[in-house]
């Protein structure tokens, strides 16, 4: 029961999507990518709302879409979809929205309602069962949409930003519930999300697309360690550089050099976390093998750390403690020395 999709889609806006997906039963595949990368487009194609221009979509031996001859319309695909903008039916109550799919798939009113109610409880909207979508808050609406998609437990779940509108705490709970649900869920799941955390927590496998093409795939942990593009680096919060290794020295493509732990040769990626960067008023003697002059461009106050953007060759992100900030009296424009232990860097072939 593998879901196998080779999508080739051309939008009249000139946008082109080229994407191969393979989702095993019970597997959760997260599709990540910048805005306009084609995530929703891919999702609509799998849902049968957008015929593919070429390629193939099949669940096991059931062929869902193969131009030009075969096309199974959405209502004949065993799917559940959470749309980015929810698309709740405004003339139905939250409860009936959730019950809709069950009714459509043949459940009688009472059973459908009962099941729907259970799902609303799950997403914590027990007492909004009778509310109309227009009178729901953003997050409440999204949770109804989630319940509506899950209620029919479909063979293929397509979730487009299912948690985007949820607040921190609700999100943690819903995410945990979702994780549970997906864990003992035999079907296939495609999760579109911008939140690396959601991806890390919920998905077994990540596919990252940029501008309609795949740039990196793999298990979350590996991608977290070894990003291959700036977008992915941003995503997982690492400093990433491309360069050419010669022994333990890497000459960076955009200027500057870095010393790494294990010698290598040829084109490599070098990555290290902002927390690995330490800052000093002047060039420190000794141990750390990498040190270069930098200038502060911006200082961002995060919950427990402070993130500093540093201009230099190379430019770099550093996380420091409020203490350091105070003690060094850092402000944008301050000139400093950045140091990174070679052992804190990871280098891997580009």
């Amino acid at each position: 029961m593998t879901l196998h999709a080779e999508l080739t889609i051309a939008r009249d806006s000139g946008f082109q999507l080229e994407l191969d997906l393979r989702i095993e039963p019970g597997q959760v595949l997260a599709l990540l990518g910048p805005n306009g990368a084609g995530k929703t487009t891919a999702l609509r194609a799998l849902a049968g709302l957008l015929p593919i221009s070429a390629g193939l979509v099949r669940l096991d031996e059931h062929i869902w879409d193969r131009p030009p001859e075969v096309f199974v319309p959405a209502e004949h695909r065993p799917i559940g979809v959470v749309f980015q903008d929810y698309l709740l039916f405004n003339h139905l109550t939250a409860l009936d929205n959730v019950a809709f799919g069950l009714r459509a798939r043949g459940a009688d009113r009472t059973t459908a309602r009962a099941t729907a109610r259970r799902w609303l409880d799950q997403v914590g909207l027990t007492d909004h069962a009778g509310t109309r979508p227009r009178a729901l808050s953003g997050g409440q609406a999204q949770r109804v949409a989630l319940a509506r998609a899950l209620a029919t437990d479909p063979a293929l779940l397509l979730l487009d930003e299912p948690l985007a509108a949820l607040d921190a705490s609700t999100r943690i709970h819903i995410r945990a519930d979702l994780a549970h649900h997906l864990a003992d869920y035999p079907g296939h799941t495609l999760l579109v999300t911008h939140d690396p955390l959601d991806a890390m927590v919920l998905a077994d496998h990540l596919v990252i697309i940029e501008d309609g093409a795949v740039v990196q795939t793999g298990p979350p942990a590996q991608i977290a360690r070894q990003p291959r593009t700036d977008y992915v680096a941003h995503l997982v919060g690492l400093n990433l550089y491309r360069g050419t290794a010669d022994g333990t020295t890497v000459r960076l493509r955009d200027g500057g050099t870095l010393t790494i732990a294990e010698p290598g040769t040829g084109p490599v990626h070098v990555a290290f976390p902002p927390s690995a960067v330490s800052l000093h008023p002047e060039n420190p003697a000794g141990s750390p093998r990498n040190s270069w002059p930098v200038t502060i461009t911006t200082i961002e106050q995060h919950a427990h750390t402070i993130r500093v953007r540093l201009d230099g060759t190379p430019s770099v992100l550093a996380d420091i403690t409020p203490a350091t900030l105070a003690e060094l009296r850092l402000t944008p424009g301050t000139r400093l020395w950045a140091t990174v232990k070679a052992t804190e860097t990871t280098a891997y072939p580009a």
């Binding site: 319309p73 959405a74 003339h91 799919g101 459509a104």
Partner: protein
């Protein structure tokens, strides 16, 4: 630069003159003639004639036929509107225009057209007559057919407009929930165009109620069988215009009563 205003309920903003003025002029234009009728109508003289069984018959017949015609229009017209709005057929533009035929056709000619098709010697009528012994002209059924023919375009076109305005992505959502296109149509599309549908139905019903030319031409005029109010009014016009005016006012009052009572119910359909 910020000007304060009296606060007024939910849609809390002042009505701009540039809209209010023409709106009121328009309202006056539609309603004042009615006032004219009310003033000039020779009430006293003909209350007796007013409550004659004949008038009662005509009223009932009008309401029944108009309602039946509307029902037919709904059953046939709404799907047609949907087909024109959503289905992808060749030459939709022409079809859409063809639907307006009964609008432009002078009703009498429309009646003639119906006779040519459904009459005793009509293209189809002759077989209806020969095979099933069905003959529509001069029957109440004929009245319903004539009214439906004239009134249907109003329903079709306004419903089609509503459909075209509705967001198809909700139908997509319904499809992903396993709803057949028919279920989607019933449970999602129709409710979402409720206001447009109501508007179309009102137009259709009112037009059917006021229909004259096609009816008398196709169904003829026989008291109790095919004499609807408008026919009664026209005949009254021949002899006693005053009576005619009063009769049409009666018809008017009745239809307004029906609309007010029904619409407020329908309108409460959310959308």
């Amino acid at each position: 630069m910020t000007t304060a205003v009296r606060r007024g309920g939910r849609r809390r903003r002042r009505v701009p003159l540039v809209l209010a003025v023409p709106a009121l002029v328009g309202l006056a234009f539609l309603v004042v003639p009615l006032a004219g009728l009310l003033i000039r109508a020779p009430w006293g003289t003909l209350t007796d004639q007013l409550f004659s069984p004949a008038v009662g018959q005509a009223l009932v017949l009008s309401l029944v036929c108009a309602s039946l015609a509307t029902a037919i229009c709904l059953v046939l017209g709404v799907p047609l509107a949907w087909l024109l709005a959503r289905g992808d057929l060749p030459g939709r533009g022409v079809l859409r225009a063809l639907v307006t035929v009964p609008l432009v056709l002078p009703p009498v000619v429309g009646g003639v057209a119906l006779l040519l098709v459904l009459g005793r010697r009509g293209i189809i009528g002759q077989y209806l007559d020969a095979w099933f012994g069905i003959s529509l002209p001069f029957t109440t059924a004929g009245v319903v057919v004539a009214e439906a023919f004239v009134a249907m375009p109003f329903l079709v076109i306004s419903v089609e407009g509503a459909l075209r305005g509705a967001d198809p992505r909700y139908e997509d959502a319904a499809a992903t929930l396993g709803a057949s296109r028919w279920l989607t149509f019933r449970r999602v599309t129709l409710p979402s165009i409720a206001p447009g549908l109501v508007a179309g139905t009102v137009l259709c019903w009112a037009r059917a109620l006021g229909e004259f030319g096609a009816t008398i031409t196709f169904a003829g005029n026989f008291p109790g069988r095919t004499t609807t109010m408008p026919l009664a009014v026209y005949l009254a016009l021949e002899t006693d215009p005053g009576a005619a005016i009063v009769l049409s006012l009666v018809l008017l009052v009745l239809s307004i009563a029906v609309l007010v009572s029904l619409r407020d119910r329908w309108i409460s359909t959310p959308s």
